[in-house]
């Protein structure tokens, strides 16, 4: 491993705590882009510079620079938004962005298509709704996931508090964000420091999730740091701690790979911040700062050894983790329709295809949810599967909401197949700079073709989990899909098969770099056999493994046996 720092490290080092020359970059009228170094720093402020890739070549010929625009990602621990905030965000989306709100696989909203000249105004408008975008991107702790689990509302509230506190605690200390976007007075001569992160923050992005069994909607094992709520006899005892999860890989580079997190033990709720600090600072000091491809926590653990890492974490925390408790995940998907919480309030689960909320022909989702927000007294909850919960509804108000849901075509979950309800696609083209193939824009057609196949084999109702990503970075967590397409080139994908639907077993590469017709041709016989040979309740991924069609999975999570009673 080389020891020269990666370029990004130098940028961070010289950034004066994430300020760089962002102000100058924003003021330059000759381009809609930022200076290179500033594009790195902007991430820590919650935004990525992108360009509309559909227009790239056309604009090059027009002697115009790429159509630079900015993605803005909100910090919404647990994906909770009040009705009032919803209306504010809706306004931002229509005024400054591309008339859409995009629910991400990390339970927050993204705006796309904001131009440089309006970036500051847009961020100010967002902050005016008491929502910020700090550290939603960059080498730092990202938006914290919390199981959306509506039935167990009481625990949700409790876990949400811990997650929220965690998110707050691990924010950067610099005031750069407030100075640049919110015109906060520079405190003269105030020497800044980052007590937790230090001046160069982490070697790489860092992701944290809180899961509440029996649902693994947060895909806790895909996170750098995870907390699995352990609930016994109606009380939250604490959490099993998981470390070292991550999806990202690069085609043709075996030193990069998806990895599921390891469960390293149990902690009480009071110990959450301490463990977080220990894991984060150990990764800060041990992580690889010369090779970004190998800088995630998962590689630090594999390079140093899990036991060594755990020992260091316990040393820094000042206490040893308890033995992990048993838990069981049933699946990683969402539930739809009305559900009653154990506090007697109601929650409506809505399917939002690829998390993209906008008005399109009879599906006027943006307008519909605006209308609902105007009458809704509770809040909204985004899910890590890109879906939406209208939460904390009084029984009395259900009818009004149902009416709007029907009027604006928000009732997709009622008519769509299980396949369609569970599928996840990442954003990919045209905004994602790393996309190699389509994902979000292609998903609807792909699903239609596969639905047709399933229908032929009489298994239209099979709850198969399909995920598609435009590149191997895996933003839709494709390596946890029973069927997954991972983009390799326009129209061509790697076909991956055999994950479970609980986020506990990775799939395997089945066919490399094939196009749609080849994909369908590969799947059809498998559907035929699944229809004929599956056991009651057996998932497609499990079947592929049992039948030997897919060799034993690369990696599964160890489930500890119950230790306490």
């Amino acid at each position: 491993m080389s020891t020269t720092l990666s370029a990004v490290e130098t940028v961070k080092q010289q950034s004066r705590f994430l300020r760089g020359s962002l102000v100058e970059s924003l003021a330059d009228p000759v381009t809609g882009a930022l200076r290179d170094a500033d594009t790195q720093l902007l991430k820590y402020h919650g935004s990525y510079q992108q360009d509309d890739r559909d227009l790239r070549e056309e604009r090059r010929q027009q002697k115009l620079e790429p159509d630079y625009q900015f993605l803005i990602r909100l910090r919404l621990p647990g994906g909770v938004v009040s009705a009032a905030q919803w209306l504010a965000l809706d306004d931002v989306a229509t005024r400054y962005a591309n008339q859409s709100l995009r629910i991400t696989t990390r339970q927050t909203f993204q705006f796309h298509g904001v131009i440089k000249r309006e970036l500051k105004t847009t961020l100010a408008a967002i902050n005016a709704s008491l929502i910020d975008t700090i550290a939603t991107c960059g080498d730092i702790n990202r938006n914290v996931l919390v199981a959306a689990n509506p039935q167990l509302s009481r625990f949700h509230a409790e876990v949400y508090e811990h997650a929220n506190a965690f998110s707050q605690h691990f924010l950067p200390a610099t005031r750069a964000y407030h100075e640049i976007w919110l015109d906060e007075e520079l405190v003269a001569g105030a020497v800044e420091a980052e007590p937790i992160y230090g001046p160069t923050y982490l070697p790489r992005k860092f992701k944290t999730a809180f899961a509440v069994p029996p649902l693994n909607d947060v895909d806790v094992f895909a996170n750098d740091l995870g907390f699995i709520a352990i609930i016994r006899s109606g009380a939250l005892l604490g959490y099993n701690v998981t470390i070292g999860g991550g999806m990202g890989a690069s085609h043709g580079d075996p030193t990069t790979y998806p990895r599921l997190a390891d469960v390293i033990g149990f902690i009480t709720p009071e110990q959450v911040i301490a463990i977080g600090t220990a894991v984060i600072t150990t990764q800060r000091d041990w992580g690889n700062r010369s090779e970004r491809k190998r800088a995630r926590l998962k590689y630090t653990i594999d390079d140093r050894g899990l036991d060594a890492f755990k020992a260091e974490v316990e040393r820094r925390a000042g206490f040893a983790l308890g033995p992990a408790h048993s838990y069981a995940f049933e699946h990683s998907g969402d539930q739809f329709g009305w559900m009653e919480g154990n506090d007697g309030r109601w929650h409506l689960g809505l399917r939002i295809e690829s998390g993209r909320i906008r008005d399109r022909n009879e599906k006027r989702h943006l307008s519909g949810l605006r209308a609902i927000a105007q009458i809704h007294s509770g809040d909204f909850r985004l899910t890590p599967n890109q879906n939406l919960l209208i939460s904390n509804v009084d029984a009395a108000d259900r009818a009004d909401i149902d009416a709007l849901v029907a009027e604006y075509g928000l009732d997709g979950h009622r008519h769509s197949s299980p396949l369609r309800r569970n599928a996840i696609a990442c954003v990919a083209l045209p905004t994602c700079g790393l996309a190699m193939a389509e994902a979000e824009r292609y998903l609807p057609d792909l699903l239609a073709r596969i639905e047709a196949q399933l229908a032929v084999h009489g298994i239209a109702d099979a709850p198969i989990l399909l995920r598609i990503s435009g590149c191997p970075n895996g933003c839709s967590r494709p390596y946890l899909g029973e069927i997954a397409l991972v983009g390799k080139a326009p129209g061509r994908y790697n076909l991956m098969l055999g994950a479970d639907a609980r986020g506990q077993r990775l799939n395997r590469l089945y066919r490399e770099n094939i196009d749609e017709s080849a994909i369908l041709a590969e799947l059809d016989p498998l559907f035929a056999r699944y229809a004929a040979e599956r056991e009651p309740g057996e998932g497609f991924g499990d079947f592929l493994l049992r039948s030997g069609i897919v060799a034993t999975a690369t990696m599964r999570v160890n489930i500890p046996v119950e230790m306490h009673t």
Binding site: P29, V30, T31, G32, L55, E58, R59, R60, Q61, Q62, K63, L64, E65, D67, I115, R117
Partner: protein
């Protein structure tokens, strides 16, 4: 015409080349032609110790001499004046040809025979090179001219309310100063030659009669080489191949601006940045159809006009103006339509309404609004011959070799519920690769870069006005030199309408462009234009100019040029501490010295 071409071809020793360059530098075309004739004479009498120095003006007294003064913005008057001088000279007359701003105005009092060829610009303004000339004659200090015989040819465009106003006023004023009119003034419309040619014949005739020719000169004038006659010209355009036609505004822009690349390979045509390319267009087919349909005429019917007989459709698509309205046409149409309202518009007291009609209506709109029965013959006779359009050249041959690039705003818009086109811009926008189009080079000496590459230049070119400055920057980069380049550009939207954005970005990076100030008018609530940017940077602008910078303005004549002019005057007041009068004197002086040049349309 540039003297710097001599060393390339001349079989001379370096010091002779040096002398030759010094001799020819700055001479205008007649002078150079005359010189070539003189050299030819020497060549034909090698051992003659002294060839009599022939020469227009030399020792010929005012009474024996014809003086031709021209004022020209886009070169038409210049071309005609040169023709006249050439023919007069061949006829053995002593003639001196001068651009108005080179005319020693004090000599006017002593002048005996004066021809003026002058166009009207702006909104009835003189061409930039004739401002001082016109002002002097119009002013109090103008002398009595009872000894002077004169004649005037005006150039104009009858679609402007102030048709040939400058020539008209000059004509009246000279008479008022006691000068005697040799023969009636003529005002040439866009179909210049139909009026100009007879006037030139008459002018030559009258000049002959007024001053007897002197033999000595004819021997030499006979020796004049004729290469220029062979070259491609407005009258003999070159069929140039279109190499590229690329839209350079974004798909969601409200404007369609094209970058057009044309090949001059094999034509021997050459240009300098600042020159313009003349383009002979055809009218859009749908417009021709619309006119035929509206008038119920048959495009295939043969129509005889003057000496030519050809199908009506051909007349309309290739030889007649079908867009720009003209006052005479409105008059004829009004007569045919027998429409009271229209006739009222033509009466003097409604000139306002008429001006508005000329501005808003194209010919088709008039035909639709006031139906009238036209015969094909009447129509062809009444419509003005199709005139070429000029486009600033947006390239430097030092970079693009024998290509010429243009930046063309495609005029096409909806009005009165139907599509409208600009003849030439639509013609160009329609061209695809390998098509051939008739073009010629229109020199514009007054808009060339300073010969000294260490001079700074300030370029103000919003919209398509940026075209020549693309050529300027290419040229200055190729030449090298320490002069700084500062560009002011503006358009509606940064994202959609930033013409040549990537090239300017590269030029800034490489240092080829030192400053770029932008005004995107509709990117914020209050509109901002280049003149605001000039004001904001007033101190620097003034400093550059005081350090010798040349200022160039190109683009919209109606508003931009005026506002920029005002902004520059303010700069001199606010940063040069000059009272308004001095500031205006200052800028006029710059204009006289050719340090403030405009190419506006």
């Amino acid at each position: 015409m540039s003297a710097s071409a001599a060393p390339l071809t001349a079989p001379l020793s370096d010091d002779k080349v040096g002398l030759l360059t010094r001799l020819t530098d700055g001479l205008d075309s007649p002078a150079l032609w005359w010189l070539s004739g003189y050299a030819a004479a020497l060549a034909t009498h090698p051992n003659a110790s002294r060839v009599p120095l022939p020469g227009p003006a030399r020792e010929a007294s005012a009474s024996q001499r014809l003086t031709i003064v021209y004022g020209s913005q886009t070169g038409n008057s210049k071309r005609l004046a040169e023709q006249l001088a050439g023919r007069a000279e061949s006829a053995g007359l002593a003639v001196r040809l001068l651009r108005a701003d080179a005319y020693p105005i004090r000599e006017l009092a002593a002048e005996r025979l004066l021809y003026v060829v002058i166009s009207t610009q702006g909104d009835g303004d003189p061409p930039d090179d004739a401002r001082a000339f016109v002002e002097y004659i119009a002013g109090k200090r103008a002398p009595q001219l009872s000894e002077l015989k004169f004649a005037i040819l005006g150039l104009g465009d009858s679609s402007y309310p102030q048709f040939s106003a400058i020539a008209r006023n000059l004509d009246a004023r000279l008479a008022a100063l006691g000068a005697s009119r040799l023969f009636e003034r003529a005002d040439a419309d866009l179909d210049i030659d139909s009026v100009a040619t007879p006037w030139l014949d008459q002018a030559l005739q009258a000049a002959r009669e007024t001053i007897k020719s002197t033999v000595a000169r004819s021997s030499v004038t006979a020796l004049r080489p004729l290469p220029a006659a062979i070259a491609w010209s407005r009258a003999r355009p070159y069929a140039a191949e279109v190499l590229a036609n690329q839209r350079i505004t974004a798909r969601d822009s409200s404007r369609d601006v094209r970058h057009v690349e044309i090949s001059l390979a094999g034509s021997a045509l050459s240009y300098e940045p600042g020159d313009a390319l003349g383009v002979w267009p055809h009218n859009p087919a749908p417009l021709v159809d619309a006119v035929l349909a509206q008038l119920g005429l048959d495009g295939n019917s043969h129509v005889q006009h003057a000496t030519t007989s050809q199908p009506l459709r051909l007349w309309l698509s290739e030889q007649r103006e079908l867009t720009r309205l003209s006052r005479p046409f409105i008059a004829t149409h009004a007569a045919l339509a027998g429409n009271a309202e229209l006739n009222r518009l033509l009466s003097p007291d409604h000139s306002g309404h008429l001006a508005k009609l000329l501005a808003d209506y194209q010919i088709i709109d008039l035909l639709r609004a006031y139906p009238a029965a036209w015969s094909a013959e009447e129509l062809v006779a009444a419509l003005r011959p199709l005139a070429p359009r000029l486009y600033s050249i947006a390239s430097s041959q030092k970079l693009v070799g024998d290509e010429v690039h243009l930046t063309v705003a495609h005029v096409h818009y909806e009005a009165f519920g139907c599509a409208h086109w600009g003849t030439a811009s639509d013609f160009l926008a329609r061209q695809s690769e390998s098509h051939r189009i008739p073009v010629y080079i229109e020199r514009n000496e007054r808009f060339h870069l300073p010969k000294d590459p260490s001079r700074d230049v300030i370029m103000i070119g919003p919209g398509t006005g940026v075209a020549p400055f693309r050529g300027f920057v290419q040229e200055r980069t190729a030449v090298g030199g320490s002069g700084r380049n500062w560009l002011f550009f503006g358009n509606p939207h940064q994202r959609q309408d930033f013409l040549y954005q990537t090239e300017w970005q590269a030029a800034l990076k490489s240092g080829a462009l030192n400053r770029l100030d932008l005004a995107f008018s509709r990117d914020q609530l209050q509109k901002v234009y280049v003149q605001q940017r000039i004001a904001e940077n007033g101190a620097a602008v003034y400093d550059w100019i005081e350090k010798g910078a040349q200022v160039y303005v190109c683009g919209d004549a109606t508003r931009m040029a005026k506002d920029v002019h005002a902004a520059l005057v303010d700069v001199a007041m606010n940063h040069g501490g000059k009272p308004r009068d001095d500031a205006e004197a200052w800028i006029n002086a710059l204009q006289q010295q050719g340090r403030y040049a405009r190419d506006v349309y």
